[in-house]
């Protein structure tokens, strides 16, 4: 698809219409897979759901340009849009949501959202918040020690900056000028705890104290996040660490176990829904003539069909056997 306006934002960023459509596709696919998970939950087929809704732009903007299987991703539990972008399929994620035997993340051992794909360099994630940061610096250090140009992208919510691991990793990345991008998806809440009880000062503003750049970006704007991350998570620019704080919002409750009416007003959510990153990006795509309403419906229909089929197939897949619980505990030599 041709680009109509020579001064369009994406052009300045070196992105083609095709890039934009790929971005849009990834965001919408993640949204639909996520929505499907909630339906499965209500149907009693998925005991637990944790969502990416509202954060798709931050995720796709940051991951776009990563080289799957070369650069490394340390995702956190909301990073569905990233893992789908890098190559995991909707069926795979729905297998995970239903704790099926074929779940590629963990074979049904972990909760959904604990991503893992060895061949895609998506490093196995866990539940303890923040542990990924030191690990990411080690992975970046390996690139540096070997003189390779790989980059590591590591993600977390704003509360993941409160624990010591984040700081220890920031300091280490700064000392050794490591090729690592810290992406903090600040969605205003940690379960019920609002940002002001979680974060003193400014997250982005802290990077300076470690001697490397930190930027705050509108996390509902996929191009803004891409701009902050490119040349970093893309690996093309190389260089040292960067911190990106993407201001975003968690549209759903924390998880299917949470009742968010206890701690936030409906009006607040409605106000943020108006900034939903997907319709917003679609307005841009329409403006620049890359995706009109009809084409959008077509894409969405295709995605919905794909997700429905993935869900059907995943539902049919067998659960783990009881004995699967017994291993593998140790890797063989």
């Amino acid at each position: 698809m041709d680009v109509k306006d020579a001064r369009a934002r994406h052009e300045v960023l070196g992105l083609t219409g095709e890039d934009l459509l790929r971005m849009h596709y990834s965001m919408l696919l993640a949204r639909r897979v996520d929505e499907r998970s909630w339906i499965l939950n209500r149907q009693g087929k998925a005991p637990f759901v944790i969502s990416c809704q509202g954060q798709e732009a931050a995720q796709v903007g940051a991951v776009y340009g990563m080289r799957p299987g070369y650069d490394y991703l340390y995702p956190y539990y909301r990073d569905l849009a990233m893992t789908l972008f890098l190559g995991q399929s909707p069926r795979e994620q729905l297998l995970s949501v239903m704790g099926k035997r074929e779940d590629p993340n963990s074979g049904g051992r972990q909760m959904p959202g604990h991503f893992s794909a060895r061949e895609l360099n998506i490093v196995t994630a866990s539940a303890p918040v923040g542990v990924q940061y030191p690990q990411a610096t080690g992975t970046a250090l390996a690139f540096k020690v070997r003189g390779e140009d790989g980059v590591v992208l590591v993600c977390g919510g704003e509360a993941s900056t409160s624990g010591g691991d984040w700081h220890e990793a920031m300091n280490f990345a700064g000392i050794h000028d490591l090729p690592v991008v810290f992406l903090v998806q600040n969605n205003a809440y940690a379960i019920s705890v609002p940002e002001k009880a979680q974060v003193a000062g400014s997250i982005a503003g802290r990077a300076q104290g470690y001697g490397f750049p930190g930027v705050e970006v509108d996390g509902m704007d996929v191009l803004a996040v891409y701009e902050a991350a490119r040349g970093r998570s893309s690996g093309r620019g190389g260089g040292g660490p960067t911190l990106i704080e993407a201001k975003t919002y968690r549209i759903t409750a924390h998880s299917s176990d949470d009742d968010d009416r206890r701690y936030r007003e409906r009006e607040e959510i409605e106000a943020w829904r108006l900034k939903d990153p997907i319709p917003r990006f679609e307005r841009y795509l329409e403006e620049i003539g890359v995706l009109d309403a009809e084409a959008r419906e077509e894409v969405d229909a295709r995605i919905r069909a794909e997700v429905a089929e993935a869900s059907r197939s995943a539902e049919e897949a067998p659960p783990p056997e009881p004995e699967d619980a017994l291993g593998p505990v140790y890797a063989g030599r």
Partner: protein, 328 residues
């Protein structure tokens, strides 16, 4: 006197202590407006304000470390760790700091803090919302580790913990939170730390257990009595460190047949210590090997139901072990 669940009894214990002692306060993740992810602290922030029921940042070392510092300056903090699995970042503050304050200062300082932590496998919890964390803490003199199972015990032991001048790790099995209700006294009372409880008297075998496993053991014990005439004595340590060795040994010597049932990965669990005490001190009374039953030695309870159910010892496994012991 009203019947209460474990969860309600603990919540009530917290409220009563806060009412009667201004220095008692709570800090932890989501303990405020949300009332805790399990709702144990529901309503407390409304009653006592944000200063005394404080939503901490997501930083467990800070939560325990700040609790220590509060206790230094006259407060009696109750720190909540959202899930026992996430107590690991606070490990240093608990075992190297809180537990050592008294000894290292030759008795000048003490550290009266209570650390509440829900533990144990639960459906849908997966590897990181399921662990039995008690063994990590039961080699640490200076620390007390309690794990009551029944509502009335829990409320009384929580009061003892808060009033104790030492750090107390207070473990709550998630699957027992709402499992049953029982009468819980309205008046102020304590259940002492360090005393085991004999739930069922029997002459044939002794079974020591706690947490969710205790419920299953008690059920199975009734069944064995009816079906096989085997009378099991069932002992709940209630305090895991230091152990009430006397009560455990008295029962072991009486029956001569001893079994410990835990939900933890068996090897290295507290079942080892309990077995070792009995093997040493009750040897002459033993008519059978000291037996243990626990989860297999795999990292933790998996998410998918068939695997989780295979992980946690169930009634059938427990019955088999108890029968094997009885028939030895």
């Amino acid at each position: 006197m009203a019947t209460k669940s474990l969860l309600q009894a603990i919540g009530e214990g917290l409220a009563e202590e806060m009412r009667s002692d201004e220095s008692v306060m709570i800090l932890g993740e989501d303990v405020g407006r949300a009332g805790g992810v399990f709702r144990v602290t529901q309503g407390l922030q409304d009653e006592f304000g944000g200063g005394r029921v404080l939503d901490a940042p997501l930083a467990e070392s800070l939560i325990v470390g700040a609790a220590i510092g509060l206790s230094v300056n006259g407060m009696r903090p109750v720190a909540e760790i959202q899930f026992g699995d996430f107590i690991t970042p606070a490990f240093d503050q608990i075992v190297n700091e809180a537990a050592r304050f008294h000894y290292r200062s030759n008795g000048a300082w003490s550290c009266p803090i209570t650390i509440r932590a829900p533990y144990g496998a639960v459906h849908g919890g997966g590897l990181y919302h399921s662990q039995s964390i008690e063994a990590w803490f039961c080699n640490t003199p200076g620390l007390k580790v309690v794990a009551p199972t029944y509502p009335a015990d829990a409320k009384g032991m929580l009061k003892s913990a808060i009033r104790d001048p030492n750090p107390v790790l207070f473990l709550e099995h998630k699957r027992t939170y709402r499992l049953l209700k029982e009468d819980v006294p309205d008046e102020d009372y304590e259940v002492p730390i360090g005393e085991a409880r004999v739930h069922r008297i029997g002459d044939d075998i002794t079974v020591v257990s706690y947490g969710f496993m205790l419920h299953t053991v008690l059920e199975v014990a009734e069944g064995l009595s009816e079906a096989h005439g085997v009378e099991a004595e069932v002992v709940e340590p209630r305090t895991l460190y230091p152990l009430d060795r006397e009560t455990i040994l008295r029962s072991a010597k009486k029956t001569g047949k001893f079994l410990v049932v835990v939900e933890a990965n068996l090897t290295g669990s507290v079942a080892g210590e309990i077995s070792a005490v009995v093997a040493r001190e009750a040897f002459e009374w033993l008519d059978a090997p000291v037996m243990r039953l626990g989860a297999p030695d795999v990292p933790a309870a998996p998410f998918a139901r068939p695997m989780m159910d295979a992980f946690v010892p169930d009634a059938a496994k427990i019955e088999r072990a108890m029968l094997e012991l009885a028939r030895y």
